[in-house]
């Protein structure tokens, strides 16, 4: 059976962002007590997978590296129509940067077995690095297409992908297996029906720890992360007032100069 893996990340609910704090030592987000939502672009990745399931009957498997407390978020994604979920959760994974995260996800994908497609969101709402999809594809040795706005599958061996580029769009053809990173233009995620919510209660969420993945602890978590945050600064937004004096012509002249100097025009 065809298999589509959807990488999913629970991110802090924007409505609770005002309560978010940073750990002064590790410079990472303190997520405890902050409600999570499915990373918005991951929903578009999931919808793309479910659309394939609707037509081809592919199995849709969710894969997420997150603490076990994020299980309700996975349950919601299951209720959208995914078949099962795998949660990669271990204290050893904590503090992973994008490289270590991609390494852990790749190990999860390998343990799942064969697959045809991995769907990711183009970036996540919290980190916004957009690095994990490419790193994951690199670890797995498969092509990665970012900024996907459309996917057509005329036949299973030939996929037509629309990619957004700076000046417009390009159409690419690719053969599975591959990894696609979806933008919000790609589709409109379906609503979760109440019957699906009931059905999802019976769907499986398995937890794999590092005992299952057997990764070298020096290559995962904080220890295995080459990215170390040196410091963080909260950007201050201030307004500066400037009073110009002189005749209207002089003021206009001066104003034009300032606008030029600031590079506004």
């Amino acid at each position: 059976m065809e298999r589509v893996i959807v990488c999913l990340k629970p991110v802090p609910d924007p409505q609770a962002w005002h309560r978010l704090r940073l750990d002064p030592r590790t410079k990472t987000l303190l997520r405890e007590g902050i409600p999570s939502i499915i990373n918005p672009l991951d929903k578009h990745a999931l919808e793309a997978a479910l659309a394939i399931k609707d037509v081809y009957g592919a199995e849709v498997v969710l894969l997420s590296m997150t603490p076990e407390s994020a299980e309700p978020v996975l349950r919601q994604a299951l209720a959208m129509g995914a078949d099962r979920a795998v949660l990669l959760s271990d204290k050893a994974f904590a503090g992973s940067d994008t490289l270590a995260t991609a390494r852990i996800l790749a190990a999860g994908v390998c343990r799942l077995g064969s697959f045809d497609l991995i769907c990711c969101g183009n970036f996540t709402l919290d980190g916004s690095t957009a690095q994990v999809p490419s790193q994951l594809a690199e670890f797995l040795g498969i092509p990665n297409i970012m900024h996907v706005t459309g996917l057509e599958i005329p036949d299973w061996g030939r996929w037509v992908i629309t990619q957004k580029i700076e000046q417009g769009y390009v159409k690419l053809t690719a053969e599975p297996p591959l990894l696609l990173s979806f933008t919000k233009e790609a589709n409109r995620p379906r609503y979760t029906s109440f019957l699906e919510i009931l059905a999802a209660e019976k769907r499986e969420i398995v937890v794999w720890t590092n005992a299952d993945l057997k990764l070298d602890e020096g290559q995962i978590g904080l220890k295995g992360s080459p990215t170390q945050m040196a410091d963080f600064i909260i950007r201050k937004k201030t307004r500066q007032g400037l009073r110009l004096k002189g005749s209207p012509e002089e003021i206009a002249q001066r104003l034009a100069e300032i606008i030029h100097q600031l590079g506004v025009i």
């Binding site: 309700p72 609503y191 979760t192 029906s193 109440f194």
Partner: protein, 383 residues
Amino acid sequence: MDFRLTEREELLRKSTREFAESEIAPRIGAMEETGDYPVDLLQPMAKLGITGIIAPPDLEGVGLGYLARTIVLEELARVCAAVPMGIQVHHMAIAALNDFGTEEQKKKYIPLLAKGETMGCVAVTEPSGGSDVLGMQTSAVLKGDTWVLNGRKCFITNSHTSDFWVVIARTGEGPKGLSAFIVDKDAPGAKTGRVEHKVGLRGSNTGELVFDNCEIPRGNLLGQEGGGLGVALKTVSESGRTGMAAVALGILQACYEEAAKFASERVLYGKPIAALQAINFYVAEIYTDLDICRLLCYRASWMKDQNLRFDTESAMAKSYTCEAAVRSAKKAIEIHGGYGILQEYKVQRLWRDAMVTISAGGTGEIGKVVVGRAALAPFQKRG
């Protein structure tokens, strides 16, 4: 005692909120202007499970029960109360048919309602009033194998958007002289009358039903002959009051959000007005009312799900929540100052919508009669 909602209930809330914000919010302007119910939303709502939430699964329903229904109605009303107003009455029709219908009647009508192929309604109120049920004058007389109905029903929610109506009519004298009937809108002599133009819940359809020698088959009697009062009271008390309360609860939630947001953003004297204690207290009062009402509404629905008697609790939830919604909307308007009475701001609609909930589904006063009776019962002298 565990007050937390289950994961399932939280997901229902999330799913309904997403739907309401995306599909219903853009329609509010048109509803306010035309007063028309967005009937084309019935199918998407049915797909989600909203229309059939309390209908049994073997009759195309979801079978989730009343607490789930309250959460869903609340979430819809948070965005636009007119839509769940129609839905909660639609649920009343499902409840009446499920509680009193024959197997044949259930199979014929409930799947249509659960799948959102039509709306349902329950018609009790007449021009002479709704609270005085026994004073109703619409009559039904059996002639051979046909019931012949004559009379008029008014203030009927979904009157013009339903394909059939559950109608209570007089078949004899006294409390046992009322019976319930299923009337197809195309039955000879059945027609819809005027549509009411309400101050609030503009998008929910309210109107008249007229029966002029209306003929329906003998088999359209719902429940026992003479059992109409029971159909009306059970349906209004159980699904009607909990439904109306849930709609008012959603309005209250919206009042809180609008009031807190405006108070935090509007700057006077160099700081947000939320820092002024008079405003702060208003928000605190709205927030407290919201919590009280949520507990009252959830408890009443939960009792229904547990098959406990809950007529007092449903009346308490309905009368208290609807009044709390009105006073909270008024406070929210006051927090907004002059902006509060502008049509561009949501709070004026919340107040208009809340006002309509007071008299609908059993007036606030009737609710208090029920609660007062229960409160005094332990102290009343016998005989």
